[in-house]
Amino acid sequence: MSFPTLPDTFVAKHAAKGWPVGLAGVALVIIGSFMSWSFDRQILGDLSVYGYPGGLQILAIIAALLALALLLMVKGPLYSVMGHWLDAALGLRALSVWLLIYMVGILVAITTESSGLVNIDPGGWVSFVGALLLFAGSRVIPLRELRDLSETKVPGWLEIAGIAVVMAGILFGAAYALAREDAWSFVLFLVFAGGVIAAMFRTGTMTWFSHVATRQKKVLTLAAFAVAFFFPFTQNGSDANMSIATSVLIFAATAMGLNIVVGLAGLLDLGYIAFLGSGAYVAASLSQSAFATIGWKPPFLVVMLVGGLVAATLGLIIGSPTLRVSGDYLAIVTLGFGEIFRFSMFNLDGNNGPNLTNGPNGIPGIPELEIGNFNFGDPHTVLGIELGRFSNYYFVLLLLLGFIILVFSRLNDSRIGRGWIAIREDEKAAEAMGVNVFGLKILAFAVGAFLAGLAGTLKAHQDGAVSPDQYIFLESAFLLAAIVLGGMGTIAGVLIGATLLKLLPEKMRFFSEYRLLLFGLTLVLMMRFRPEGLVASRRRKLEFHEEDEELALAIESELVEEAK
């Protein structure tokens, strides 16, 4: 986020004042945070204590300390260490804007949640003025020329330590965010996190980190999985957040499968949820639930395989006639297929056809998953920490997500992946070079469907019931939105997109009425300003900016660099 910069003459005139004003701002924010912010102790946790900070006040202090570190990088002891590399002044501007938004958010929250402005205690005003001073100060601190961060030579252990710090930050951030009960605290935490991330981008830390990430890919992947693995241990056996986390995982796994179809092969599939549904219906039918119409219960691995294969077969059936036609028609046909699936499940109730699915009632009472003697419904204690029902499913889903990511990245980096890119680039030329265009498209369709089918079988057990109304078009649209928002063809982007799209509605119930409106608005804005998504894959960046010569040259120099 950036505001228009002030005129140069103004900055030059007041440059000397920026630093002390900023320092005063930092001091005020911290002092204010040790005082009471709110008269009403019921809201935003408890912010009404004098003498020590609590909850959201600690976040304000952390932000202030970060600002202090940046100030000391502009002028002070840290300058000689990092001042040449990091763009402290620009980072400070970003951070101060977000801190100001944060403080305004606090004041608005206190005002609206209790009965008026009167409930804001002096501490709140002090911190607010502090944020305002910091904002003003940062505006007039002049920017400097910097060295290229990618040239930094940092020992390998420090890079790995950097990854560890970021990953730990993500783990604690996620745990902290999920622990916020009220929507305001959650939103304010997001503002705080946004500020930290923006500052990382502006100072160039993010650039450095992305270089580290490409150098230490294996470490990063392992660390990310470690973070995801340890998440349930931060929940003290509480299932409230774990149920959200498992639904995020199912959503992310499905989105990642769709990412193969949309992101890699470039096919627009608007009925993808039907493949998840067919997997779920297979698992439900083969679960020996009291309502299941098939009285057979094979081992779960067999069920998964059957679910995946049924979905893949459906994918082949729908794909083989339609993949011969170009993009838009495929979208329409898949849209129709999604609806056909739902109506079929709705109508296979014995009245209109064979009774397979119990029609609108669906198949409830699906027993808990049981592999060997391990019952997924029972809590288990590991290392003295109780892991509840949802944690059990969480771990299996994490494995599945890992598998899907593996399939995604390995297919991407292979003969098949190159074929997909070639098809996206120029289908006719790819064909003339001997690429099996139709075969590769149908492969993407079938693999995507298979993976969604796998996820579906787990979803059925985790939900304990399947019914047709879970698999509506809107769900397909959300899956697609997660991919577009996060970044087509990327792993990190789609994970972030899926998490945001699933987590925000869960945590912010009050905006559920406006959910569609906001998503629509977000997508329109994304298409206008950042069509390649939050995390952009290099290839997509190039594809979305055909005219941008500079970008192409910059990416090329990165490629040449990496090849060395």
């Binding site: 593996l406 399939v407 390995r410 297919l411 292979s414 003969r415 098949i416 992946g417 190159r418 074929g419 890119i421 070639a422 680039e425 120029d426 006719k428 030329a429 790819a430 064909e431 003339a432 070079m433 001997g434 690429v435 099996n436 492969l443 693999v447 290839r539 190039l542 594809e543 055909e546 010569e549 192409a552 040259l553 990416i555 090329e556 490629l559 040449v560 990496e562 090849a563």
Partner: protein, 288 residues
């Protein structure tokens, strides 16, 4: 019109016929774009395809490579009939480049050539996911072969460059490398020197000779007459979809009908491009 006699060079010994196209006809509704064209290309032969704009040269190429399904005639390749499907054509050993460069713009030079290896490699989804030794061997071989081909066409230093950033002449050569990656017996080049300066054109003909010397046959569409007559063992001139003349470069460039087709008889001047005419070539052998 006088025709200077040149000493006939002994025809080089060419091998077996690679491509035998007989009576190829392509009709778009009422338009007869290619009418009963015959072409035989032998091993190690360079054949030129000339003709004014709209004569059906590229359409003929599209018929040979399966991008169009010819409405009549038969194409045989290495002795066997060839189905008009691009993949079958490439597998059989005929690769092509395009008149308007059709590279995969956002891929690197190396990746472009690696795509060309697609039809000569076999790892499918499961092998790619499991990544056994066979997959890794094939992947390494693909990469090595692509690198080798880039060096062959003189782009050994540009492997990691994006196709869209490369200079025009390099893009043409990259397209040739991509076509060579399919291990063809015959390569069809559609105006390989369009838009090139004289020096680049000379490099292009050196490259084509080099390709021929490595054992391939070549068919070239070109408007640059000096280039064509210097390069080719045999030249075919198409006019309005039909073969006008076929013969050695000497025979074709001295044929009055060819000159007429390019310069026109004065009745249909507006479709002429004088700079394409053999006379404009100025090598003194043809004087109108």
């Amino acid at each position: 019109m006088t025709v200077t006699e040149t000493v006939r060079q002994p025809a080089p010994a060419f091998g077996e016929p690679v491509l035998e196209a007989a009576g190829v006809t392509m009709r778009f509704g009422g338009l007869l774009a290619v009418n009963d064209v015959n072409l035989t290309v032998r091993e190690g032969e360079i054949v030129g395809l000339i003709g004014p704009n709209g004569a059906g040269k590229t359409t003929f190429f599209n018929c040979l490579t399966g991008l169009y399904k010819p409405t009549g005639g038969q194409v045989r390749f290495a002795g066997a009939p060839l189905a008009p499907k691009p993949r079958a054509v490439v597998r059989a050993g005929m690769a092509r480049t395009f008149q308007n460069i059709r590279l995969f713009a956002n891929m690197t030079a190396l990746e472009n050539v690696m795509v060309g290896r697609y039809c000569r490699t076999s790892s499918m989804a499961l092998t790619s996911i499991i990544r056994g030794p066979k997959f890794r061997r094939e992947e390494r071989a693909t990469r090595d072969r692509a690198q080798e081909l880039l060096e062959f066409v003189g782009l050994g230093k540009s492997t990691e460059h994006l196709a869209r950033n490369m200079p025009y002449g390099d893009q043409r050569r990259l397209e040739i490398a991509r076509a060579l990656a399919t291990d063809p017996k015959l390569i069809l080049l559609d105006e390989p020197t369009a838009g090139m300066n004289p020096q680049e054109t000379r490099q292009a003909s050196d490259l084509i000779f080099k390709i021929r010397d490595s054992g391939l046959s070549v068919v070239v569409i070109e408007h640059d007459m000096r280039f064509i007559f210097n390069l080719c063992d045999r030249v075919l001139c198409l006019v309005r979809g039909e073969t006008l003349v076929e013969g050695t470069p000497d025979e074709v460039q001295s044929d009055p009908r060819v000159i007429e087709a390019y310069i026109g008889t004065g009745e249909d001047e507006d479709e002429e491009r004088p700079q394409d005419a053999p006379a404009a070539d100025g090598d003194g052998e043809v004087t109108p």
